[in-house]
């Protein structure tokens, strides 16, 4: 366990000392929160667009932020692999479990901090606007967004393990665009319906945002809360298992 903690603390320190982590994982989502709140104020009420109301926007922004955790996980892993750092660690008594948890644990901590800060900012904005968000809803939503954090972080681990330092970030940016679009962060697929909604529903991203939004609004309907929870948690478990299997087999071929 000591080895896991040593590896985790190294990952955490390196991430928290990289200014880019703050720019992408915090500043960018917060700027989007501000911009979209202003956009929301400029949309006439008659338009009936609710996707940028804070109660919808905040969870969307939180999921948007999580896609960058994926990017940073893949960057960390692929960099360790491209240099000789991971090779050197392979020659120590640490094992694959230590390595995997050494990446996942600090990313989960950062995910909690990130979501906490985004929600705190959203709450403050909601107070300023005179439409306060429920504190309990925010807290529940923060918890309910952690399975999707696992999902994104594991995609990052997977990409970082399989692809080079050069291609992993590129692939992640595809998922970032795809995820934030098909996750319905910037538009409301439910009101759109049709083929678009079908595509969104075929991918897990839609359920990540939906779960966060329902939790925030304390809406415990089956299709609003429980179904998305089941789907997101299921996908998170599958991706976690997959990334562990891939990391281990990659480690074996590295040492062949």
């Amino acid at each position: 366990m000591n080895r896991t903690f040593a590896l985790a603390s190294r990952t955490r320190k390196e991430l928290l000392r990289d200014p880019l982590s703050y720019i992408f994982c915090l500043a960018f989502p917060l700027v989007m929160l501000a911009i979209m709140t202003i956009v929301d104020r400029s949309i006439p009420k008659e338009a009936g667009m609710t996707v940028f109301h804070l109660s919808q926007l905040a969870p969307g922004i939180a999921v948007f932020g999580q896609t960058f955790l994926m990017l940073f996980t893949s960057l960390t892993v692929s960099k360790d692999r491209s240099g000789y750092f991971l090779v050197r660690l392979y020659a120590t008594p640490a094992g694959s479990r230590d390595f995997i948890l050494g990446y996942l644990l600090p990313m989960m901590e950062i995910s909690l901090m990130q979501c906490g800060i985004i929600y705190l900012a959203s709450w403050i904005v909601s107070l300023i606007l005179g439409t306060p968000l429920s504190a309990g809803g925010l807290l529940l939503s923060l918890l309910m967004l952690q399975p999707s954090a696992v999902l994104f972080i594991c995609i990052g681990l997977l990409f970082g393990t399989l692809f080079s330092e050069k291609s992993a970030p590129g692939l992640c940016s595809i998922i970032i665009s795809l995820g934030s679009f098909l996750g319905c962060i910037w538009f409301d697929a439910d009101s759109l319906g049709g083929i678009m909604l079908k595509i969104c529903k075929a991918l897990p991203f839609y359920y990540c945002t939906k779960l966060g939004r329902s939790a925030l609004q304390l809406n415990f309907g089956t299709s609003a809360f429980w179904l998305p929870l089941l789907i997101v948690a299921g996908c998170a478990v599958v991706l976690a298992l997959l990334s562990v299997i891939v990391f281990r087999s990659r480690m074996r071929t590295d040492l062949a």
């Binding site: 903690f5 603390s9 190294r10 000789y84 020659a91 120590t92 640490a94 062949a256």
Partner: protein
């Protein structure tokens, strides 16, 4: 020198990459406390040999024992008694020198006090005091090398592998590192690769000259000189490795 105990023994150790044989039926015995230098032109198979001995690469055939443990079946045991400084300095760039050392130390021992004590000792031994609080990415090549070797030492390995430890260092830094490596020896077994003949002359108890995966000459400096029929390691090297190249 204690020539009783064998620390490393390989028998027919072979590594093939597809058609290419990188290490070819290597038979090598290295004793406890010896400083053993592996010389050879680029691509001779030095790094591949070190990788197999440090459980980073599986031999295609043959066997390797380190400290009496098999690199194939007892990798866990081997990893506990070895330290390796790879050909490319591999350090955690955004950790400070001290944090890098403490981090590596924690991979070998559970005991926090031991970690701290070993970290302090390495900082003193390698004269890293003035850069102890600097992030590794800000260090010059020489400091990074020293840190990398200190990290290899932190688990108090019985066997230390140094793959081109003085690559890219200036003359003074190289001399300083030679001094250090001399000090590190104590009872430790050190396997070192280098392209600098002077380095091998200065430091080694025994030297092996590798070519195309095979050992062409192995022994003390004077034994190798006698074998080659010339004086000076560089001349002997050219004689032995150069002749092979012509064949």
């Amino acid at each position: 020198m204690n020539h009783e105990k064998e620390m490393i023994r390989t028998k027919d150790l072979t590594k093939k990459f597809g058609e290419k044989t990188a290490v070819d039926h290597l038979d090598l015995t290295i004793h406890e406390g010896e400083l053993f230098s592996l010389l050879g032109v680029n691509g001779a198979g030095k790094t591949t040999t070190i990788r197999m001995l440090s459980c980073l690469s599986r031999p295609t055939s043959g066997e390797a024992l380190v400290g009496g443990f098999s690199c194939l079946d007892q990798a866990e045991k081997v990893k506990e008694i070895i330290g390796i400084s790879p050909q490319d300095t591999a350090v955690a760039e955004r950790l400070t020198v001290q944090e890098n050392l403490a981090f590596m130390a924690a991979l070998y021992t559970q005991d926090k006090a031991v970690c701290r004590e070993r970290t302090e000792r390495m900082i003193r031994l390698f004269h890293l005091e003035e850069v102890a609080g600097s992030q590794a990415r800000t260090l010059s090549g020489g400091w990074k090398r020293k840190l990398s070797i200190a990290m290899a030492m932190i688990g108090e390995p019985q066997v230390l592998f140094l793959d081109e430890p003085t690559l890219g260092l200036d003359v003074l830094a190289r001399r300083e590192l030679w001094n250090l490596i001399g000090k590190l020896k104590e009872k430790r077994t050190i396997i070192l690769t280098t392209h600098y003949m002077e380095e091998a002359e200065q430091l080694s108890d025994r030297i092996a000259i590798m070519h195309r995966g095979r050992i062409r000459a192995c022994g003390t400096l004077s034994e190798i000189e006698t074998l080659a029929g010339v004086s000076g390691l560089e001349n002997a090297f050219v004689e032995i490795a150069g002749k092979e190249e012509l064949l």
